[in-house]
Symmetry: C2
Subunit: 249 residues, 2 copies
């Protein structure tokens, strides 16, 4: 893949616990920041329940639409962990014991501890490639452009290092933030003109409340630093004209 | 809508800042917990960028698939706030000044402060119903089964009270949690049998790490308390047999 190609990804969060509000997802942020650093832009996130048909249909759509798909959750030993069998169905592959994963877990656990419950975690789509898990043994896996990671945030984080060489991004997405002591409506018109004149740069405006004070952060994102710099100077121009205090630049 | 009908909803998070990893979404949890209490189950969450075509297409799918759709983000005064115009397109309605919203903001701001930037926030789909905003003036709105709320979590929260009468749920979804000092693989087989015998109850298993100790929380969810109680007793039966310590029941 050429370094000039734009590379995108979708994140598929699998788990009733996110939809019920019981658990706060933080894996989206972890994956998005890590993918940005590799030059991969997250274009969509979906959260779906632990239901096979929904997971299979969603996977089939996402894997053909985006360069990469990252799933989180559903690869543990219990009945509600159905990611591996769903990925098998989506790719029309056999759901079977992965011998390499079996060996890893057999030697990870003490003799006699690698019980039937734990053995469920080595059932994967045929020909899956393993994603090593330095934290708790049980590996994730990838099939084609779909990468399956666990839901527990600390374990997911520990597995990203081993994935780096498998994900080929485009140019890293650079970003610059200007924080202003103002409200959005004061700058909306001028900012909109900068966006119109720089259509291939992503300019976002986000109000914030910090230490009892209102402000707006403007975030400029592009693969091209010179375009960011140009937008930055255009923004600072109207900021100076309007005599708005710059908190961070 | 009868109280026996199952009522579901989708949440559509609109915003590049979530996809880039810059901002951690918390609105999903807020909305999911609030909807559960009204007897509405969140069936799907999607996060999409600030791009009109994607928002319109996603809205068109979600609004015909689920009883309710809740959007967050994109209703402020800047160029990247395009939720109102996207909802207008999805419903084939004119995007126009909402007179009631205009009056609210005209009297909210001091004379002369209701400038062009702020006036953008009163442009809405024709015939939109307002969702009052006790925190910062600018209202959200609903069209048919789509409810549009702001992205700022504190403002979103403050607006839910005013929405209660507009959302008609089914039976509230009840839940019970049993926390055990064990690992998932020890209970996977027994728990799976309980799930098989109680197919209409949602049983989830979630490992946790707390105060340096491993554990598993089993969450039983149903609209029917007697079904929850029955599953609970079946689970406690195998937990006792296995001599597993119960942390919370």
């Amino acid at each position: 893949m050429s370094k000039n190609t734009k590379v995108n990804a979708a994140i598929l969060i699998i788990g009733n616990e996110i939809l019920s509000g019981r658990t706060q997802d933080t894996n989206t942020g972890t994956l998005a920041n890590w993918l940005n650093s590799l030059g991969v832009k997250v274009s969509e996130v979906r959260v779906v329940p632990d239901e096979e048909k929904i997971i299979v249909d969603t996977l089939n759509f996402l894997k053909k639409t985006y360069n990469y798909v990252f799933t989180t959750g559903g690869i543990g030993p219990t009945h509600d962990d159905i990611t591996a069998q769903s990925v098998s169905k989506a790719f029309g592959k056999k759901y079977e014991i992965n011998k390499e994963a079996f060996k890893i877990l057999e030697s990870y656990y003490k003799p006699g501890e690698f019980n039937k419950g734990r053995q469920k975690m080595v059932w994967m789509p045929a020909e899956a490639e393993l994603i090593k898990n330095p934290t708790s043994g049980a590996p994730g896996f990838s099939v084609d452009n779909v990468f399956c990671l666990p839901g527990v945030p600390s374990i997911l984080k520990s597995m990203l290092g081993g994935l780096k060489n498998k994900v080929v991004g485009g140019k890293p997405i650079l970003s610059h933030t200007i924080s202003l002591r103002t409200v959005e409506s004061e700058i909306a018109h001028s900012l909109s003109k900068v966006q119109e004149q720089n259509k291939d740069v992503e300019i976002g405006s986000y109000p914030f409340f910090h230490a009892g004070k209102l402000g707006v952060s403007i975030v400029i994102r592009s693969e091209d630093q010179s375009k960011i710099d140009y937008c930055n100077s255009q923004i600072l121009e109207f900021v100076n004209e309007k005599k708005i205090e710059v908190v961070e630049r």
